[in-house]
Structure formats: C-alpha cells, structure tokens
C-alpha cells in the first residue's frame, strides 16, 4: 500500500470531506477504477484500507465481479458498517470490508444511500451479509432489496426509530416514571 494524491471525484457537500486528501491505493483499487470508470471513484477521506467509492446502482455488479473475478477472489465479506451523515445527500454510507483469504488482499467499498433509496442485499453472494444487513436495517433504517429475512435483530420488533441515526432522541429513554 502506498499513498498518492486523490482525484477530485467524490460526493459534493460531503461533511466528511478532508482538508488534505490522501488515499491509500493498491493494485485492486486501480483495477476497479480502470474497469468501472464511470461508477467507481477514489475516496477523499483518509483511510487505512484500500478504498473506493461506488455508485449505488453499480454495487450489485461490482460485488459480483469482486467475488467471481479469479485474480481478485474476494471470498470473505468481513463486515458491513452503516454511517449516518444527516446534512449530506445521500444521507447514509454503507462501508463493506472485503478480504481475500487466498491472496490476503483487502478492500473497502463505500456506497452512498439516500433516505428513500434501497440498497441491494449481498446475502446471495456472501452469507455473512445477512446479519450485518439486518443490523444496519435495525439501527439505521436502511432498506435492502432481495434480503431473505429483513427484520430487526438487536432491538425488539415493536421498537420505534433507529438509534444510530444522529437525530435519534435519547432523552426520552433516560426518564424514569416519577421523574
């Protein structure tokens, strides 16, 4: 991995925009940008994993490519994280961390998802996506299409709201009867 200057592409009005953008890049990142030039771009954030930003509509295709391309062989989807940027559009980021057990290379993919948008489920490709996506649905309220069983996982089914959203009000929870 080496550092290089980042390009100018990326989300506009992104509050997570870094003042001095540095990007860790790798052969995998270069390959993806070359092959999917119109839907993959370098990330602007300072990151410690080789990362790319992918457009939501291309996620399914690129994920399939990552898994099936024999020179990449990303067989291990270690984690999916959801992040809320309430002032940004699209509002959410999904961050996928991929590992190839064979080649030992890693890749993080960031996808912006709007409040009304639905992300494709990667459960048919990696079974580990199942519970990760349920957790994101539960705590951030992002919808996934094609998920076999999209229910809340950590909170009770009748829970209202999504606690990991930045605008979730905690104060009500802290009050006890008689307070």
């Amino acid at each position: 991995m080496e550092d290089s200057e980042s390009g100018s592409s990326g989300q506009k009005g992104d509050p997570s925009k870094r003042e001095v953008p540095t990007v860790q890049t790798s052969a995998v990142v270069d390959l993806l940008i070359k092959r999917f030039s119109d839907s993959v771009s370098v990330v602007e954030e300072k990151v410690n994993w080789p990362s790319v930003r992918v457009k939501l509509e291309a996620l399914q295709n690129i994920a399939t490519f990552l898994k099936q391309e024999p020179t990449l062989d990303f067989d291990y989807l270690t984690s999916i994280s959801g992040v809320d940027y309430p002032e940004r559009s699209p509002r959410f980021d999904l961050v996928y961390h991929f590992v190839s057990l064979k080649y030992k290379h890693v890749l993080a993919i960031k996808v912006g998802v709007g409040e009304k948008e639905v992300a494709p489920s990667l459960t048919p490709l990696w079974k580990s996506a199942d519970w990760n996506e349920r957790e994101i649905f539960d705590l951030l309220g992002i919808q996934f299409s094609g998920h076999p069983d999209l229910r809340r996982i950590l909170l009770p089914d009748q829970w209202k709201g999504h606690p990991l959203r930045k605008d979730y009000v905690l104060a009500e929870e802290d009050k006890f009867p008689g307070d």
Partner: protein, 371 residues
C-alpha cells in the same frame, strides 16, 4: 385397534430454547422447529443484552470509550481494549514503544488463555463432564491474579491505552506469569486426559455440527470456527500487528469442521499461546511503556478499520473521526455475532441434544453478540 407403528406421523413443533437456558450462557433465545428429536431449523434471537455501545461511543471521548470495550467480550477484555486502541492509533499515527508492544502481546495471549479456559470448562460441563470446569477455573484464577497485579482489576481492565499501556509490567507480574506457565502445559495434558480420550466426549463431538469450508468462508466465520473448518487463517500471521511476526508459533487447523475439530484447535491454541507468552516474557525489552500523547486527543479527520485475532475470532473496530474529541462513529465487528449467524448451517438435521454441543463449540459471549 392401534394402527401399525409405521403409520405414525411426526408433527412439526416449534419450541423455545432460552432466553433462560443453562447452555446458552447468557440471554440467547433459539427458536427451534423440530420433528421428533431432529432439528429442522433454528432461528437465533439475539439482542437481549443490547446496550447500544456503538451509540454510547459517539457521546464519549476516545479515552472514555476504552472502559466500555471491556464490556463486550468480558472474558477477554484485554483483546477488546487492544482492538479499539489499535484502530484509534492508526488515526493518530503514533509509534508505540517496543516494551508496550510486548506487554500488549503478553496480555492479549493471557486473555486468550483465560477465554479458552472458560470455554473449555463450560463446554465440557454442558456435555456432562463437570470436573474440567473446576480445573479450568483454577488456572484462570492464576491469570486473573496476574492481571490484578498488573492493573488492579480482574475482569474489566481499561489497561491498553493510546500509545501504550496504563501501567508498566512489574517484576512481580513477570514472576507470576512465569510461575503460572511453568505448570500450565501439564495442566493442559490433564484436561486432555479427561476429555480427548474420553469415549463419551468423543462420540458427542465427532461428526457433530459440521461447518463446511465453503460455509465457513461465506459466513465469514473467524477464529477457531474458521480454523476448525480446515482454513489456515490467523490474523496474527496473515495480517500481523504488534510484535507477532517475531514470535514463533503454529496455527492449528481441523479437518472436517465438526465440534471435535474446534475443540482440538482451541486446545492446541492454548499450548501455542503459552509458547508465545514464554517468548514475550523472555524478550521483554526495557524502556517506556507509553508514548507521549497530548492530554486532549483529537485524531485527524479520517477513518480506520483495524482487526485483531481475539480469542473468539476477528475482532474489528471501524472508527471514523471528524477531528473532534469524540468519535463520529464506532462500529464493532464482533466475532461472536458473526460466528453465531452460522449456527443454522451447522444444526440442520441435528439432534436436539447435539444442539448444546454445537452452540457451545461456537464460543459466544452475549456481551459481544448484542453489544
């Protein structure tokens, strides 16, 4: 007239195992769909212990969050401290002193031993062998005593800090570790005598709860679960951190991925952890145990994902900094949570009695599953 036996039909039943069930070691509910004694499908229901730790992180400073990581996998709290601290250090871009790195390896491996010992004792107990439980807890007591000498706490340490560790390893602590290690290998032989050659134990674990190689990878199982399914993958070797590259140890793997393989992998891992500990204690260099850092930590804007080989598998922390004193987002990739998801693949067609063995072999801690 009684109908001939073969005409009896088995009705499919739905029963609950848990949330209060001794073999779940915490509050986990398994919804079981059964036909006779066979399990048709399992629906794990988690979240009873959800405390919103990821949300709490956003309201606290980086330093204030370290004690909360103790409450994830509370049987190996040092590993949790370490994983979070490594992620933030990657944002801070700080070099840590060599001595601190060695001490971290020592506490991480002691944690692995403590965690595996609790697992071994309670797993054997679940299968009806209550003697190992007492022995395992006796050895774990020594480890907790060593931790107490080191940092004053026995379970929730808050010991690994940004730039190093909270307090230096005293000669007393080193002495305690050496004394413990001098008898430990013999103790493992004792456990093996009780279990490895025990025909009841072998029959209850061999070819039970098989997790295929493909499923193990697809479910992103990690730790002994992944290695039990014959995949040689250990972050200490494959994505090295701290001073692990300088240590000499082997990565055990299973062959078929059954409960027995996971047991064997953990037993060998205990021996290997003891081996790493001896090397780390011998090589422990002099010097600082903590790097100098500003009192108020404000990591530069950016994000870091860092992972360590915790006793239960890959423990990852994804930390996003917005340049303020509090993290913008902390996401915890908990090994128990991800490993537990694979239970449905392992229990198809299993006997209800074997379910206890299968669940035990995953080695979950609900504090980490529910976060």
């Amino acid at each position: 007239m009684v109908e001939p036996r073969r005409k009896f039909k088995t009705e499919r039943l739905f029963i609950n195992m848990g949330p209060q069930h001794p073999s779940t070691h915490g509050v986990l509910r398994l919804g079981l769909s059964i036909e006779g004694e066979r399990v048709v499908s399992v629906f794990p229901d988690v979240g009873f212990l959800h405390r919103g730790i990821e949300k709490l992180a956003e309201k606290r400073t980086y330093v204030q969050f370290i004690p909360l990581t103790d409450r994830l996998d509370y049987l190996a709290a040092m590993s949790n401290n370490l994983a979070f601290v490594l992620a933030v250090e990657s944002l801070l871009e700080v070099e840590i002193p060599r001595r601190a790195s060695y001490i971290r390896v020592i506490v991480a491996e002691l944690s692995r031993l403590a965690s595996h010992l609790v697992w071994l004792g309670s797993f054997a107990n679940d299968l009806g062998a209550s003697t190992p439980l007492l022995y395992c807890f006796r050895e774990r007591e020594d480890i907790l005593d060593a931790f107490e000498i080191l940092c004053g706490a026995r379970m929730t340490f808050n010991y690994v800090r940004f730039g190093g560790v909270a307090r230096d390893a005293t000669p007393e602590f080193v002495e305690k570790c050496r004394k413990f290690l001098s008898t430990f290998d013999k103790r493992v032989d004792e456990y093996e005598q009780l279990l490895t050659n025990n025909v009841i134990f072998v029959n209850r674990t061999k070819n039970v709860g098989i997790l295929s190689r493909e499923d193990a990878i697809s479910y992103a199982a990690s730790g002994p679960m992944l290695r039990g399914s014959a995949i040689k993958w250990d972050l200490r070797k494959d994505a090295p951190y701290l001073v692990y590259p300088e240590m000499d140890f082997i990565i055990p793997t299973g062959t078929v991925g059954d409960v027995w393989d996971r047991y064997v992998v953990r037993i060998i891992e205990m021996r290997q952890a003891a081996r790493i500990l001896r090397q780390a204690l011998d090589g422990l260099p002099e010097g600082d145990f903590k790097a100098k850092l500003p009192r108020v930590l404000k990591p530069a804007m950016g994000e870091a994902y860092s992972r360590v080989e915790a006793p239960k598998g890959e423990l990852g922390f994804y930390v996003i900094s917005d340049g303020t004193t509090n993290p913008y987002r902390v996401r915890i990739r908990a090994p128990s949570f991800i490993n537990l998801a694979a239970i449905s693949a392992m229990t198809e067609g299993a006997l209800i009695a074997d379910l206890v063995a299968i669940l035990g072999s995953i080695d979950i801690v609900l504090g980490e599953v529910d976060r």
